[in-house]
């Protein structure tokens, strides 16, 4: 265990260093973009104003409020202080909404769409990959081209196909929104059903794209594993097929687990394409418009959450590997 303490200690120090760098970059990078976001607020107040001094006064009022007139280093320390108090300030583009309010209203939609979609896509893709590698022949010949097709289809292409076929054509599912266009959110079965129905197309548009890539990766890894000596030995011993698939799956999925962790870490950025095509609520379009509008506080807050989630996910994976990967275990006990 002593070896492990050193291993985890090193990983943790790197985690902290990376976090500090990410924190600083999250603050600086948005502010290096051209354009003056405060001008967008002033625009709303100054539309049609002919009084130049009046416009200038408005501009000063809001640069003061957002602190964009102060030196960058001073802005940074104010930012640090506020963030540690849990205050991300006002969103510039959606002023006077606070960043917390903007995130709060859409983050759940994103999480609830992305998390299950990533997990389901990952599981189906990997299962199909193992099966293709093991069963070969007909199954593989059908699955491989389909997987290659799916993984290369752009996300918007898949979303549009699903929309046109299942919503516009067959009318099985609604075309847009997170719940019925004629509904007010409430705790009733008809509303819950509406949410489930509206969930399907955005969900499957993400899942189907995920499946292809996962299946291809898992198939290659599994073929490699299937040729390993332990598999041949297991076959000689007459061990049942499903049990061998189980061994192969566990060994081949190590790199896939890393990919899964990163996908979960980055899911906060939202399913931009699904959100746009299906007008589904969520953070993706919020972040996009924040980036385009130079909304520093909102960009910094979302990238900070993103960095933190990716860092935590990779840190957890490192720890997990420490226990499950025999090579690391061996290295630590040396």
């Amino acid at each position: 265990l002593k070896g492990y303490t050193k291993y985890f200690g090193t990983k943790f120090i790197w985690f902290v260093i990376t976090f500090i760098c990410a924190f600083i970059l999250n603050f600086i990078l948005p502010r290096l973009m051209p354009g003056d976001p405060v001008a967008a607020i002033v625009a709303r107040f100054a539309q049609g104003a002919t009084n130049a001094t009046g416009v200038q006064a408005i501009y000063q009022r809001y640069t003061e409020l957002f602190g964009t007139n102060r030196p960058m280093i001073e802005q940074f320390f104010i930012y640090v202080r506020n963030v540690f108090q849990g205050d991300f300030g006002y969103s510039i583009a959606q002023y006077p909404r606070t960043v917390a309010d903007v995130l709060k209203s859409s983050i759940w939609w994103t999480m609830c769409l992305q998390f299950p979609a990533i997990i389901v896509g990952w599981m189906i893709g990997n299962t199909l990959g193992v099966l293709a590698a093991y069963l070969r022949k007909g199954f593989d010949r059908v699955l491989m081209p389909i997987s290659i097709f799916l993984s290369n289809l752009p996300a918007f292409g898949m979303a549009v196909i699903l929309l046109v076929v299942f919503a516009v054509g067959l009318k099985w599912f609604p075309t847009s929104g997170g719940y019925g266009y004629d509904m007010i959110p409430n705790f009733s079965w008809s509303f819950i059903w509406s949410v489930i129905v509206h969930y399907q197309l955005p969900f499957w548009s993400i899942v189907l794209i995920n499946i292809g890539g996962q299946a291809i990766g898992m198939r290659s890894m599994s073929i490699y594993e299937l040729n390993a000596d332990y598999v041949k030995y297991a076959r000689f011993l007459g061990i049942k097929d499903w049990k061998i698939i189980g061994y192969v799956f566990r060994n081949a999925m190590l790199p896939q687990v890393t990919g899964l962790a990163l996908s979960i870490g980055t899911m906060i950025t939202g399913a931009l394409v699904a959100e746009i095509i299906f007008s589904y609520p969520g953070l993706g379009t919020t972040i996009l418009s924040a980036v385009l509008g130079g909304d520093y506080p909102l960009i910094s807050a979302t990238t900070l959450i993103l960095s933190l989630m990716v860092l935590v996910a990779t840190f957890l994976i490192e720890i997990l590997y420490g226990f499950i990967d025999p090579r690391i275990k061996a290295a630590q006990s040396d």
Partner: protein, 634 residues
């Protein structure tokens, strides 16, 4: 068989897993939004005079036969309901403009862009100028009440002005140079005092009149509550979401989240009095679905989930001609709507060569406007053959304000490549080094035409402008910065435009009580040159003292013949100097309606008197359309 069993069992396991994943998701979402659903209930507490249904009472769905659905006005979630603020992103209820939106807050008069008249709303009868034209007096309707049941008085009108000026709101800033004060003579009588020039005349009577139909009356008592809440701080005052606001209009907040905004009718609305509408507006609920792009909006319109669409629907005629849907526009044929504003390409008049009239006019002459109108606007604009270019929008009222014959020689309707070449040749601007590009004073004529990225119809237009350059030996390339960058650069009129902004596209005013004067001022007045945050116009920084003098003279001129003379002269100077050129005509609002549930929407020649304008039943006099709607299947 064994393998098949393995596959089947795995697939079954997966389907169970997926089922398990999806259901909790939905439930979690419900938990989140239910919190928000509590908002309308909270709002009811401030409306003691009525008991509107709350979200729970309406059960799961809004009754289709009582709900009118909109799209294209609201993008992104509503921030608040504060009429003093321009930052509420509340498109359904807060828009103090030429045709002010009067669903929740009301103006004394409602402007009708079709006949140019102002009709009394809160006001009782027409307003009157005094003989010196320095003061306007108008009365308020006895019946006008606030949502809390109290009387709407002249004191409210006066205090609204006081607060707007005191806190430097958009309304205050825009009018403080023209209005001295607004006072209550008695509870029903308001006097608006114009700011006077050195000779004792009103600085700008047009703007004083426009105030009456462009700006809301806000309750004094509520304003005082707000002031107390924010401690008199202007920034705080305009950032307050004002969930407790008192209003006078027929609708108010019912529900709002990231997906939609729902307004509910106030069944105690004062306007059902015989002195105003005599009844309540027909739809009980007005719902605006928030889509993330136009494509989703069009799909919903086709599906009958949107009744009134204020967005650009490409090839709108296909919706009824090809798809056979019960969808229509204000006019049955192209241009389908009433053009009101003039999206315009401004020249950077300080760029090399663009300081030459010949170059400016040649480019403008060579541009293929029919292609812009056919492609960028899918024919939802009149052509320049139908409505020759001027400073006027295509409405008959504005067209009658100038003498078309006088400027006929100066007209150009596009695609005149030979004419443009001849003009350049005559000015001695020729290609001297045979590289296909003309030179002026030894330097190549090479420009960048620009508009904001993602504004697809404008980008299509800019591409056509760039192509015109190639035809006449002027190199024009296109570039599309993000709006956040573009707006910062273009509105900095205190410095010359930088490289990359040689030909830039911006808007012009639509239809309103100060038009076409205000549009001309924004297109041509030199008062904006040197302004740091210029959100007015003349972004190419044109300066002509003759034009300035004419613009100055219009607001105080009352003789129609003299006015026509001035307007004609302004058009002549505009077409001679070509400091900018209009690329298309654009409607004030897009107004496409689906008549599968509701019918009797405003259409051209629908027999309404006064005519109801196609402004989505919410702007200015178009709100009258809400009282005429009927159900297709009652």
């Amino acid at each position: 068989m064994k393998r098949l069993t393995v596959i089947l069992s795995i697939l079954m396991a997966l389907s169970i897993l997926m089922g398990a994943c999806a259901a909790p998701t939905a439930t979690e979402e419900v938990a989140v939004v239910t919190e928000e659903a509590a908002a309308p209930t909270a709002e009811e507490e401030v409306e003691p005079t009525e008991a509107p249904p709350d979200a729970a009472a309406v059960a799961a769905a809004l009754p289709r036969n009582e709900t009118l659905y909109f799209n294209g006005q609201q993008w992104g979630a509503v921030v608040g309901w504060n009429p003093y603020s321009t930052s509420m992103n509340n498109a359904m209820t807060i828009a103090q403009q030429d045709n002010a939106r009067v669903l929740m807050f009301e103006t004394p008069y409602a402007y009708n862009m079709l006949d140019g008249q102002m009709y009394p709303l809160l006001a009782d009868g027409p307003f009157a100028w005094n003989d010196a034209r320095t003061e306007i007096t108008f009365k308020l309707k006895e019946a006008a009440k606030w949502s809390d049941g109290t009387q709407l008085t002249a004191e409210d009108v006066a205090y609204t002005w006081t607060a707007n000026v005191k806190y430097g709101t958009n309304v205050g800033n825009n009018n403080v140079d023209y209005i001295e004060d607004i006072v209550a003579v008695d509870p029903q009588t308001v006097v608006v005092k114009a700011k006077l020039d050195e000779e004792g005349n009103a600085v700008n009577p047009l703007i004083v009149v426009a105030y009456l139909s462009s700006n809301y009356v806000i309750q004094k008592a509520w304003t005082e509550t707000l002031e107390a809440r924010v401690g008199g701080d202007a920034t705080e005052l305009m950032a307050d979401p004002a969930e407790d606001v008192v209003y006078s209009g027929p609708y108010h907040k019912f529900f709002a989240d990231d997906s939609k905004v729902v307004l509910v009718r106030d069944d105690n609305y004062w306007g059902q009095d015989a002195s105003m509408w005599g009844k309540l507006p027909v739809p009980k609920y007005l719902t605006h679905t928030i889509f993330k792009d136009n494509a989703a909006g069009t799909t919903a319109l086709k599906a009958g989930e949107v009744d009134v669409s204020q967005q650009f629907n490409s090839n709108v005629q296909d919706l009824w001609l090809v798809d056979g849907l019960p969808i229509s526009t204000y006019l049955p044929d192209a241009p389908y709507g009433i053009g009101a504003s003039l999206p315009t390409a401004y020249y950077n008049l300080k760029a090399h060569g663009l300081d030459q009239v010949a170059v400016r006019k040649a480019i403008a002459m060579a541009v293929d406007y029919p292609t812009i109108i056919a492609n960028a606007m899918t024919n939802q604009s009149a052509t320049f053959d139908q409505v020759p270019r001027s400073l006027m929008n295509p409405t008959p009222g504005e067209q009658a304000l100038y003498d078309q014959a006088v400027v006929a020689d100066l007209q150009f309707a596009g695609n005149d490549v030979e004419g443009a070449k001849a003009l350049l040749d005559a000015a001695g601007i020729v290609d001297t080094d045979d590289d296909g590009i003309r030179e002026y004073e030894g330097q190549k004529l090479s420009y960048i035409a620009t508009c904001p990225n993602g504004w697809s119809d404008w980008q299509a237009a800019i591409e056509v402008v760039a192509a015109a350059g190639a035809d006449i030996g002027i190199e024009i390339t296109s570039n599309y910065p993000e709006w956040s960058v573009y707006q910062t650069v273009v509105t900095a009129s205190d410095q010359p435009l930088p490289d990359g902004y040689d030909i830039l596209m911006m808007w012009s005013d639509g239809a309103g009580p100060t038009q076409p004067w205000s549009r001309i001022r924004h297109l041509l007045s030199s008062e904006y040159v040197g302004m740091a945050g210029n959100w007015n116009g003349n972004w190419g920084q044109y300066s002509n003292p003759d034009v300035d003098a004419l613009i100055q003279a219009i607001p105080t001129e009352t003789d129609p013949d003299k006015l026509k003379e001035i307007y004609t002269e302004l058009v002549r100077l505009y077409l001679t100097d070509v400091p900018s050129f209009t690329l298309m005509y654009r409607p004030q609002s897009f107004h496409t309606v689906n008549e599968s549930v509701w019918t009797n929407f405003p259409h051209a020649d629908d027999g309404t008197d006064p005519p109801v304008p196609p402004l989505d039943l919410m702007d200015g006099w178009s709100v009258a359309g809400l009282y005429n709607l009927t159900l297709v299947n009652p």
